[in-house]
């Protein structure tokens, strides 16, 4: 069935809300309003106020309460309206959700999911446009899911809700309206398995979220010049499908990583480090990271366009390897 990315996420929520009465959704304006980007539209009418809970503007509470309620047997899905706001409840992720199981010797678990949204390109400026998915990957105990297509989004969300670990699920503003054929009903996409979004033999591009689209467009361009690009989407950053990346680089001998985040310490750093450690022999050329510069995100459209990694920059980076 044809569905947008937003609809696919909503459909995934619906599947789980129907299946498991312990699943509920809580966050700011997720109820009658349907979410800041419309992702949860209609769920309140369908499932009512017990299951779809509008909270005050209180992110420490939103995330912290999910740690408590999930430790007590519920399966909360909470929303932090923008990725940028993960910073205000960072402790609840990094020191609470992530560590409860370990600190308590495995005798507690925190099966919660937090939805949030990334991405520049809509003029939302420095505090509403970031792609900060790399930050929490440094904290063991958390799972990071970051789908690039509607079908992946739905299947990964269902898998995330059923997972017994805390999961952060990153949507992307620029993907919400993208549509494709999405399986109906109940299915999961496994957490920790990369997907080759395009096969190729000359160079591997690893990209996630919106950057998969840009990389696919770049691959199309590059094909015209006879460069065969493999586009690998890890889909989850923790756990990371290292084997798939090494395998692809083994095939192509070249690696370009494309991330929307600032260059320094974006998740591309980790991928590059892994390959430099475990796959150095596979490389025929330096690794390249195509990334946003190390600057905050500017408001003015002309500056913001310069900020976002473009198809042209990806093409140029790949070409520089040949």
């Amino acid at each position: 069935m044809q569905m947008t990315y937003a609809e696919a996420i909503r459909d995934g929520l619906r599947v789980e809300l129907k299946r498991d009465p312990k699943v509920y959704l809580a966050g700011e304006d997720v109820g009658p309003f349907g979410g800041c980007f419309g992702v949860t539209a209609g769920l309140f009418d369908e499932f009512g106020p017990k299951r779809i809970v509008d909270t005050p503007i209180s992110e420490n509470f939103i995330v912290g309460h999910a740690v408590g309620s999930s430790a007590c047997g519920l399966r909360p899905v909470v929303e932090v309206m923008f990725d940028d706001f993960i910073t205000v409840c960072f402790d609840e992720f990094a020191n609470q959700a992530a560590k409860v199981r370990y600190m308590f010797g495995g005798k507690a678990k925190v099966p919660m999911v937090c939805l949030t949204i990334n991405g520049a390109g809509v003029g939302a400026a420095a505090q509403h446009s970031q792609s900060l998915e790399a930050l929490l990957t440094h904290i063991p105990g958390l799972i990071t899911v970051i789908p690039s297509t509607p079908a992946d989004a739905k299947g990964l969300l269902i898998a995330a809700i059923r997972d017994d670990n805390p999961v952060i699920f990153y949507e992307h503003k620029q993907l919400l309206g993208v549509s494709e054929d999405v399986p109906e009903g109940d299915y999961t996409v496994p957490i920790g398995k990369a997907d080759i979004k395009r096969e190729g033999s000359d160079v591997t591009i690893v990209a996630w979220s919106w950057m998969v689209q840009k990389s696919l467009a770049a691959a199309e361009e590059l094909a015209k010049d006879g460069i065969s690009v493999e586009v690998l989407d890890p889909r989850t950053l923790v756990p990371l499908d290292k084997e798939a990346i090494l395998k692809s680089v083994g095939k192509t001998g070249r690696l370009v990583i494309v991330q929307e985040s600032c260059k320094t310490m974006g998740f591309g750093s980790e991928i590059a480090a892994i390959v430099a450690e475990e796959g150095l022999d596979l490389l025929n050329a330096p690794i390249i990271r195509v990334a946003a510069p190390n600057t905050p995100i500017p408001f003015s459209p002309v500056l913001e366009q310069e900020y976002i990694p473009s198809v042209e920059k990806i093409v140029a980076a790949v070409k520089s390897l040949f």
Binding site: F33, P56, S58, D84, F85, A125, A126, F299, Y307
Partner: protein, 322 residues
Amino acid sequence: MEFSKEQLFDFYQTMATCRAFESRVSELFAAGKIPGFVHLSLGQEAIAAGVFACVEKDDKCGLHHRSHGEMIAKGGDINKMMAELFGKATGTCKGKGGSMHLADMDMGLLGANGILGAGFAIAAGAAFACRYNETNDITLCLFGDGQSNRGPLHESFNVAALWKLPIVWICENNGFGLSNPVKGHLATDNVSDRAAAYGMPGVTVDGNDVLAVYETTQEAVKRARRGDGPSLLEFKTWRWHGHFEGDPGLYKDPKDQEEWLKKDPIPRLGNMLIKKKYATQEDLDQMKAIGEAKIDAAVKFAEESPWPDASELYTDVYDRQL
């Protein structure tokens, strides 16, 4: 309290200019001339006009995300503000900030803030500096009802009261935090009910009555300047538009909306001016025209201003190129 004709005209002029500014911004946004998120405070102009008549240029003020009016009332440069909303190089922030990050340190305007609640501590820090420097300056901190539920409020209210910092906390209670009505997010009837928790005075006042706003603020400002510490003022008003431009505000009860439209603070003051024979309808029309003319000029300025050079993306991250 007795008001001079001049004072009353000033109130009227400020409100008329704010109204003209935001009405135009609404049109420009709809026409696609202004990108990003734009939050308007149409209907709330009495607060800006009343509050800022109580402070001097060197007094500081922390703003939130719905702060065009305040900025104008504090004496911000309207041309530069409009240029900022357009994302032009001549803007208040060189086009890098946009509506959510308007700032003007020369006017003591510490900046709008896209992270709800982050402004409490920043404003407290400004008040700390006012005292540390042994000036007589004070700081205002404006915020909405919704963000009054964020944790940093508590930390900052407590410390400000404990240290008797020269600050006035001003809540613009406009009925909603995005789609969530006050009774859906606040445990008490009034935000000002929280003042007692910090041993400071708290008061709730009609926010559409510019004179009441002025009187209340005046008293709190004096108290702060005297060194007697903070106060919490709550001005009840109503947001005419949706949360951001583009939000139809379907969650508002049309009856409430209608009621509040009738309470428009501008004709309210205008009628009084006429009744008291301080002004004729022509005087009022003229003030409106002055406001409009300023906005015409500002739009012209913004439209004719250049875009920032792409190289501006990389500047102002640090004081130097690292």
